[in-house]
Symmetry: C3
Subunit: 158 residues, 3 copies
């Protein structure tokens, strides 16, 4: 049986998403079975890039507007500076031909990395399955995560 | 022997505390032995809600005022917006009947999750045992954590 | 064979560096084999304290100026308050005779903790090996990390 790695993607920061996808792809490429569990702000990473998410109530509308998400829209955990840090990082990554979070996400998915969206966070934030990219394989809660992580050789919270 | 999970609760953010308690409760409910090690800002999570902590020296007094803590007072890691983000999140959680950090903490404790307060951080910040809720089971340092984590199937830093 | 611990040091925050070095030293002192993998902002922790890093292009120059790093210059993840939080924490730590991040780094290295700098982050940020302290043992990417972490009893992302 393949060795397992699990990553809880709690953060919605671009830099942490880059780190997570690089770890996932590296592990998949040496034959590990990888699952990424997206929860809280991490759900932003796997949201569709197009437009706003429909949700009920003014507060959910606000929360979901602020968290429009999509891998294209993620900010940095540091030096965000109203988008300038992100723009700089984007330019540097292009120059050094580093793949973007979106490209890494596609590569990870093609390498067999499993994407799981946290249903508890979805319920609290009032977002449905239609908000997410089709690469999401599973919708599940803590029990789904624990079932994977219990046999994980490497389990990280990012 | 029961399988173990350990969580280092370094952060004092409400959202991360929610994630941690949900993981702890989930693991306890499938029979795992869970210990949560509260350190640095994470100490705020297990502080009593009532009033200021007595401490010596103006700087410690300031630091402890800023970190009054108690599970009721935790802020979000993102979108805190001078408390508005927290208020919104609180309302959404009430609407969806999601338990608060305080309620989750009680549930976790009743489910047998062990709460450990980091004595090193307590010494640096100048706070004594009387600052904490009675649910704290153990006071210990890195060695206490490592003894648990070495046999942990899942060890996370939150 | 000694039991292993691996720490990914993603963050460049002083408080998280303190936590990481304390964990590393604790584990080394009970005979564990510890490796710390410094990536992204974490690279700041192992940069030399002296002056600016030479790099090409205005944006890399700016990025590297903002990330001058060196264990002396790290800020707090919370309450940084334009350096005041850091100053207060520094004073409190001196009063309680807690070692500084720099001192802990030296102790960790002497205790046999392995320091690995992430070559991917270095390439994106345009920094060479000359930017780092001599205590760095290895330069490597994700594969280097995974080789250690696969056999790790405790693997944390900080």
């Amino acid at each position: 049986m393949a060795e397992k790695m699990t990553l809880i993607m709690f953060s919605g920061d671009m830099d942490k998403a880059l780190a997570a996808f690089n770890l996932a792809i590296g592990a998949a490429s040496i034959g590990m079975e990888v699952s990424m569990f997206f929860t809280f702000w991490g759900l932003n990473v796997i949201k569709k890039n197009e437009g706003a998410i429909k949700s009920k109530g003014i507060m959910r509308k606000m929360l979901n507007f602020m968290n429009r998400g999509g891998a294209k829209r993620l900010g940095l955990s540091r030096f965000h500076m109203f988008g300038m840090g992100k723009w700089m990082m984007g330019k540097l990554m292009k120059e050094t031909r580093s793949p973007s979070p979106q490209e890494l996400m596609t590569i990870a998915h093609q390498a067999g990395v499993k994407f799981i969206a946290c249903t508890n966070s979805m319920a609290t934030m009032g977002i449905g399955k239609d908000a997410f990219i089709p690469e999401v394989d599973t919708y599940g809660g803590v029990a789904t995560y624990l079932a994977d992580a219990k046999d994980g050789r490497i389990n990280l919270f990012i």
